[in-house]
Amino acid sequence: MNLPLHILRKDCRRLRGWLAVWLALLVAQAALAIYGFTIIKISVLGRTPPHIRQMYHPSLALNSLDCLESAEFTQAARTYFIELDHGQDKMSFYDQFITYKIISGYAMTALWLAEIGLLAYLVISLIREDTPLGDRAFWRTRPLAGVEVLWGKTLFLLLVIVAVPALFQWLFTVFAGPSSYESSFALHHFITLQFGWIALAMLLAVLWENIFVGFLALGALAAFTVVFDDLLNPSPTDLPWTHNPFWMLYILGLEIALAAALWRRFFRRRTFLFAGIVLVLAWENMKGFVAPLFPAVQYPRVSSSPFWMLYLLIVSTGLAATIWMYLYRRRVVALGLLGVGVLLLHAVTWLHYLKVRADFYHALDSLVILYSTLLGTVALLALLRQKPVDPEPPNTDGSAVTS
C-alpha cells in the first residue's frame, strides 16, 4: 500500500467539493481569456495587431488581458481599427470590444482573486487535516511517518495547484499561438507564482496560530505600504497600484479573513506543508547547464531584483520550515525564520529605493514606514491573539478522587 497515495486519495475525497470549484474557476478563467483573445483576433479580421505581442502576458494568472487595460494600447487599437476600415466608422464593433475589455478586466481580476483565495484555503485545509505540530493530530498515533504524510500533501499540491492550472495555461498558450519563448516564459512565470502563493500561505500558517489574523496583519502591512508609497511617489510610468504585489496580498488577506470567519473551526489548528519550491530553485540554477543543450528554447533571464530574491527566500524558507516540521515536529525554526524575513524585507526595501529610485531620502522614508507598519502589526497581533488550544498544563488543585 503506497501510503502517500493513500493520503492523497483521502484529501482528494475530503476536498472534492472545493476541487470542483477550483476546476470551475480555472475553466472560467480560460474561457474568458479565450473569448477575449478571440475578440481581438476577430476584431482585426483574423490578424493580431503588433502591439499585442509586445504587451501581452500570456499568463492566465496575471490576467491575460492586462494589456487591454493600458491606455496606450486602447489608443493604438482604436487607431488601428480606423486605419483598417479605411476611415469607415466601425465604432459599434469597437464599442463592443471596449465594453468587453472593461467587464472582462473586472471579471478576470475577480476570478484570479477567487483562485488565490481558494488556493490558500486548499493549502491551509490540507495541512490542518494532518498537522505535524501539537499533540492532538490523528496521524501521530497511527503508523504513518512524517515523510509519508509530507509526500502525500506535496503530491496533492503538485497535482491540484501546479499541474492542473499549468495544463490550462499551456492549453491557452497553444491556442493563443505565442512564440515558444512566450509560452515557456508564461509557464515558468505561472509556476513560480503558484509556488510563491503556496509558500506564503504555509509560512504564515506556521507563524500564526490564528491564520486569518496573520493574513490581516500582512494585509495591514501591505495597505500601509501601498498607500504611502503612492501618496509620496505618484508616477505615471508605474503600473497601476492594483498591480502592486502588496495590494494583492491585502486583498488576499481580506479573503482569508472572510473564509476563516465563515469556518471558525480553522482558527484552532495550525497548518503547514509545502510543495517543491526546490524545483524552482533548481530550475534557476540548472538553466545555466541546460540552456546550451537546447539552444532552440530561449530561457527567460531572471532578473536579480531584490523582490525576486525576497520571493526566493520566503519560498525556500517556507519549504525548509515545513519539511523540518514534519520530520522533527518542532516550531522553533519557523520563529527564527521570521527574524530573517524581517531583515530581508529591510534589505529589499532599502535596495529597491536606492537602486531603483536612487533616492536616499525615499529609502529612509520607506524604512520608517516599514518599521512603523511592522510595529503596528505586532501590536495588532498582540491584541487579537487568541489563546492556544494546546492542552493546558493540568490543574493541580488536588481534586478529590471520585467514587
Binding site: M1, L3, H6, K10, R13, R14, E129, D135, R136, A137, F138, R140, T141, R142, P143, L144, A145, P391, P393, P394, N395, T396, D397, G398, S399, A400, V401, T402, S403
Partner: protein, 308 residues
Amino acid sequence: MNAIETHGLSRRYGRLEAVHGLDLAVPAGAIFALLGPNGAGKSTTIKVLMNLLEPTAGSATVLGVDSRRLSPRELARIGFVADNMELPEWMTVRVFLDYCRPLYPTWDRDLESNLLQKFELPTDRKLKHLSRGMRMKAALIAALAYRPMLLVLDEPFSGLDPVVRDDFIRGVLEVSALGDWTVFLSSHDVEEVERLADWIAVLEQGKLRFAEPLDSLLRRFRRIEITRGANSVPSPSQSQKPIPSTWLASEEAGTLHRFIDSQYMEGDAERRCAELFPGAAINVQPLPLREIYLTLARHPEAAKAMQP
C-alpha cells in the same frame, strides 16, 4: 519482559512539573490501570509514551523501543484511544475504517465486522454526527481490529453512559487472548477498573504513589472488627500492649474496635487480636478496592514500593 517501562520520567510545562520522576514497569500481558485525580499527570504520561510529547527528563520505553523513536513499525502494533482525541470528523464510519485498514498489516476484517455488529454502529454516518459514546466505539474498533500488542486507553470511560461503557469493555475483552497483549489504561474512577485490572498504580500531582498487583492488594488488606464481650477487658489504649504498625485507621467506640490490617495473614491477625482483646468476637472482612485506595491515600506508608 515489560511492555512499558519508564525511568525517572519527567515532563514539565513551563514551571509546572506535570510528571515527576516516574518509574513504572508494565509487565507484558497485564491489564494495567493508572489511577489518579484529574490533573495528576495521567494524560501527560500517556502522551509521552505515545511520543506525542517529549520527556523533559528521564525516558520511557514502549515495546522495547525508546518512546522518542517510535516508528510506524511499533505503532502498527499499538492501539490508542483517548477520550478527547481528534478524529477525522468528516469521514463516515466506513470511510474511517477504510482509511485505517491499509496502515496495519495485521488488520482482521472479520474482527472488524464482528465489532461493528457488536457495537451497532451506523456505518454510513459521519463521525461528527455520532454521539460521544459511538465515536469512542468507532475509535476503539480502529484500535482493536488489528489485534495490537499494546492497547493504550486514556480515560476511556469518562463521560460514557453505563451501556456504552459496558459495550466498550466487552469489545476490549473480545479481542483479549490471554497473555497476547498488554492493556494500559488511565482513569480517575477506581470502580471502573476494579474488575479489569491486574495492576493498580496511582499517580498524584505527577508522582507515583504506589503500584501493586490487584491480587496482592486484595489479599493483604482486611477490615477487622472487634466486639469486646461481656467480660470487658481494657482496650489497648488503656493497657500497655502495642498495636502492630500495620494496623491502620484504628477507631474505637464503646465495645467496638475497628481497624484496617494492611499486611493481613490468615490466622495471624486473629491470633494477635486474641492476644490484645482476649475473649472478644473477631470479624474479618475483605476490603473493597475503593476503600483500599482511600486507605493508601491517607496512609502512604502502607504502600509497597514497585518491584522493577
